[in-house]
Subunit: 329 residues, 2 copies
């Protein structure tokens, strides 16, 4: 089978199409023919040497999400059978023609979606669902501040908030991309072209002075101090990404007096039982909404695996609105 | 009735014994003769002009906790009657011979304790209970890092952890005070004389390399970065005090990769329904342990209200081990 393997030295890393040995499933695992895989910023970071794969994943083949067809199942598998269409998250190795994963880490592809569309769902929606619903406890009537709202996770988060009855205030650095936000039900799209960004006053203005109840921060860096200023009393900040930097000054007086909660979260390095639990919760709570069309894939472009360099360059340039998908077909 | 009222200008504020009009209880309130009141750092801060009372509390009479006898009750009161011994938290005004409070904000004084002992309980134990149990979710078998463990809240937190089956690692800046920590079941007492403090490695050593599951930070300032380093994966940090400073650099990469949760909390400014809910939870969960002697008052000294200047000086000098109590008797 073919894989996209990391090749080249420091600063000139590329992904090269190479042959690899096909995997075989364990007793509780599915053997899947990958049809399409979503591209994520984490893949770019891994390529640049900044985000090594967890020890149980392939070290030199990136790819965190996929959609494909079950080729065969292990002896103890009960939830799927050969021919089923599945999608899911893996710790790495999705940029491959085949992979194996535990049956409790796989989700059925919603009817009506093709593989490329399905491959755009797992990372964006599971990240948003875990951060906003399971950990953030979003409630109907609340206001959620979502940074980088035109990104893959950002757009999924906005759609999930709309489905949950919450109002979204979104930020972005690009007016053209931000114009799409109204399609996802974003009530207030705030353009942030300056650095450091200024949005706290605008979030207050959009919420009658109260501030946001929940924030999904995919940016970090100098967004954090301003995010804390934008929160309502007892506001919850979910820290999911750090593209703008790893450190910031923290105003603990504000955190204390406003009783704020800041939670860092990451999916990839979690132990398997937590990943399984997340997928099972998503099957109960997200999949019905995906089947109903309320949580659609937001796709920037679908490119063949052979055009991965073009896809990486597009992501590096912050051009995508929604997800980039690689397809074997 | 007598009260201790804030007098004097900026930098020379004192508490003066003065006459005031006695309060009268509303329909759901208790009218209490205060016998003793705990002294808190917040009183010192209020005296210095740094921590104004909430709008519904007396502005010029400090005092956040008390124990005393019910003199009379409002028409709708059902939980207490005249002659009952009660203790509780108020937004201010406890440095007074009488006060009123809602019956659902009062707790019965545990049998066997006198008023001075009971006045040392509410702020320390309700703060620790709210932060560690209700918000922090402490579990048996976990390790809890408690800063300023010889303080009023610190000692109460350590005793509460012992009752909950959790191991405590405590820090302090004074070897003499820290020596008392073994009385409260503290497994590892770490002396931190330097600034910035260094304790993360010692916390790891005390936990087999894992780090603390929960931290109660009463110090803030440059303790925070080191606290985050000392946490186990998914560790929860409760930020309760800021005596060492309001700001610190935040390593968001650490917060994210270790999936840490940082929560700021304060009791005084909460709306009444939250204060009532906390007291009711404490009646169910804390009071039985207080009655059993498992959660005793930790008292540094009991002084007459007329000696408040001496008590304030002792607190200012960070001398107390446990609580300072003022008594009318």
């Amino acid at each position: 089978m073919k894989v996209l393997r990391i090749r080249g030295g420091k600063g000139s890393e590329t992904l090269a199409l190479e042959d690899a040995e096909a995997p075989s499933p364990g007793a509780s695992e599915l053997h899947v023919r990958v049809c399409a895989a979503g591209l994520n910023r984490a893949d770019l970071m891994q390529l640049r040497g900044h985000y090594p794969a967890p020890p149980d994943a392939p070290q030199d083949v990136p790819g965190l999400e996929f959609a494909g067809e079950v080729l065969a199942v292990g002896a103890r598998v009960r939830r799927f059978r050969a021919g089923d269409r599945v999608m899911g998250l893996v710790g790495g190795g999705a940029f491959s023609e085949q992979l194996v994963l535990h049956e409790r880490e796989a989700l059925p592809v919603p009817e009506g979606l093709d593989f490329a569309q399905a491959a755009a769902l797992p990372e964006a929606y599971l990240t948003a669902f875990d951060a906003l619903v399971l950990q953030g406890g979003v409630q109907a009537g609340e206001t959620v501040l979502i940074h980088a709202v035109a990104s893959g996770v950002g757009s999924a988060a906005a759609l999930l908030c709309r489905a949950a009855g919450a109002q979204v205030v979104g930020t972005g650095r690009n007016a053209h991309k931000l114009a799409r936000a109204k399609d996802w039900g974003v009530a207030h799209a705030l353009l942030c072209e300056q650095s450091p960004p200024h949005f706290a006053e605008r979030v207050r203005a959009a919420t009658g002075g109260r501030g946001a109840d929940l924030a999904l921060d995919l940016v970090g860096g100098d967004y954090l101090p301003e995010t804390l200023q934008a929160m309502a009393p007892r506001g919850r900040v979910m820290l999911v990404g750090l593209v703008a930097g790893r450190t910031a000054p923290l105003d603990m007086g504000l955190v204390l007096s406003r009783r704020l909660r800041l939670t860092g979260t990451v999916l990839r390095s979690r132990p398997q039982e937590e990943k399984m639990a997340l997928v099972q919760a998503a099957e109960r709570q997200l999949l019905p909404l995906m089947r109903a069309g309320v949580l659609p894939p937001v796709i920037d472009a679908v490119l063949p695996f052979s055009a991965v360099s073009e896809a990486l360059a597009r992501m590096q340039g912050n051009a995508p609105v929604g997800k980039l998908v690689l397809s074997w077909e």
